[in-house]
Amino acid sequence: MARVRRRDASAFEALYDAYHRLVYGVALRMLGDAASAEDVTQAVFLKIWSSPELFESGNFAGWVVRIARNRALDLLRSKSRNYDELSDTLPDTDQLEERAFATLDAARVRNALAALPADQREPIEMGFFGGITYEEISRRSGVPLGTVKTRIRSGLRRLRSALEGTVTV
């Protein structure tokens, strides 16, 4: 990113090569159509090029997923009025110690997610990729609000345990 800040186009190209599948995958999973997902991917990378200072430090992959998710959420909200208003950004970690899994790969996370019980995996996927609040998850699934929250927490804890051993601070 330091080279991208110095307007190094080849560094930007390398960044694209490394992360475009992640950005595009998240957008496609959320939006369901390739054209919109490509639009989001383009918007995310042009944002990185035009405002590289927005990434200060820490987990770049997590940051770029966050931007992709927010862009996709904007599109989802503009397409449908059936979405509850969500926070514009994922959690603000300004005051918090940042951690990230050091050696993640898609297959490993997919396997960990697939290993969750369906009643935990589903609300987590609905929240993250569906871009909806837990109230909306409760309404759509017919599961009581408190149960949805409990299952999300339990699922994230299990996911954390499954990915454990690769945590960096």
């Binding site: 944002k47 959690p91 005051q95 898609a106 408190g146 954390r160």
Partner: protein, 256 residues
């Protein structure tokens, strides 16, 4: 379940990004004062962030993952950030200087046998630098042309100027500019966003986001044809902008 256990569950939903803005704000405030909840957040946030990886596209169709985007997407993006990419690629294939320099390297190596000079690399580095400079030059030329047009609009005697808080809005023909000269920096994670109201519309439309420079100056051309714009406003919004204003506008200007 006690109320704190319920808060811990809210922290998990917050880490997932599935709380409403109001509840998210309440959790943020609580996190500032509760070590146990901070620990819970630190434990669960990486798991939530890792979810994105499960959707990562993959070339291997057998993996069950999403197929990657079209290679044309990369070309489109690179064309936008490096408009003279063709010039750069035209420069790179020139190989004869490399041979000449390689021969010179051999001679120098024989004569001196002291230094292992890789002039090839230097040539490549120089070519890369020249290509980068060319790219910068083209980009600067385009920016300069745009800035000249903007400057002409801003100082044109027939431009209409509307004073607003911290600056003015300038309208020249169908182009509209927000020109701020004492705009405080937005809070961290926030930007200023312009809004426009078109004739006949009942709601403001989102326009560009911007931040002032360290001197509080921001000159922002509003995109699109401004002929039909009957009002302009600016508000503070989360980075990336909003579809609807989420804060009280710093100003609302109705063109008369």
């Amino acid at each position: 379940m006690n109320s704190h256990e319920s808060m811990l569950e809210s922290v998990a939903v917050y880490a997932l990004g599935s709380l409403s803005p109001q509840e998210a704000q309440a959790v943020r405030s609580h996190l500032k004062t509760c070590e146990e909840c901070r620990r819970e957040y630190r434990d669960l946030a990486p798991a939530a962030e890792a979810l994105g990886y499960s959707a990562e596209a993959c070339e291997d169709a057998r993996s069950g993952a999403i197929a990657p985007p079209s290679p044309l997407l990369k070309k489109r993006i690179m064309a936008q950030i490096r408009p003279n990419v063709g010039e750069i690629r035209a420069v790179r294939p020139i190989v004869w200087p490399a041979y000449a320099v390689a021969a010179a390297c051999v001679v120098l190596a024989l004569v001196t046998s002291i230094f292992n000079i890789s002039l090839n690399e230097e040539i490549h580095a120089s070519q890369s630098t020249i290509a980068q400079l060319n790219a910068n030059k083209t980009q600067l030329a385009r920016q300069l042309a745009i800035q000249r047009l903007e400057m002409a609009d801003l100082v044109a005697p027939d431009s209409q100027r509307y004073p607003v808080e911290n600056g003015q809005v300038v309208k020249h023909g169908s182009r509209i500019y927000i020109a701020m000269d004492a705009l405080p920096a937005p809070p961290k994670g926030k930007v200023y966003q312009a809004w426009t109201l078109h004739a006949g519309a009942t709601q403001m439309s989102p326009s560009v986001t911007f931040v002032p420079n360290s001197g509080g100056v921001a000159v922002v051309p509003l995109p699109g044809n401004g002929s039909a714009v009957v009002a302009v406003a600016v508000s503070v919004e989360p980075d990336g902008g909003s579809k609807q204003p989420t804060s009280k506008p710093t100003f609302v200007l109705k063109f008369t």
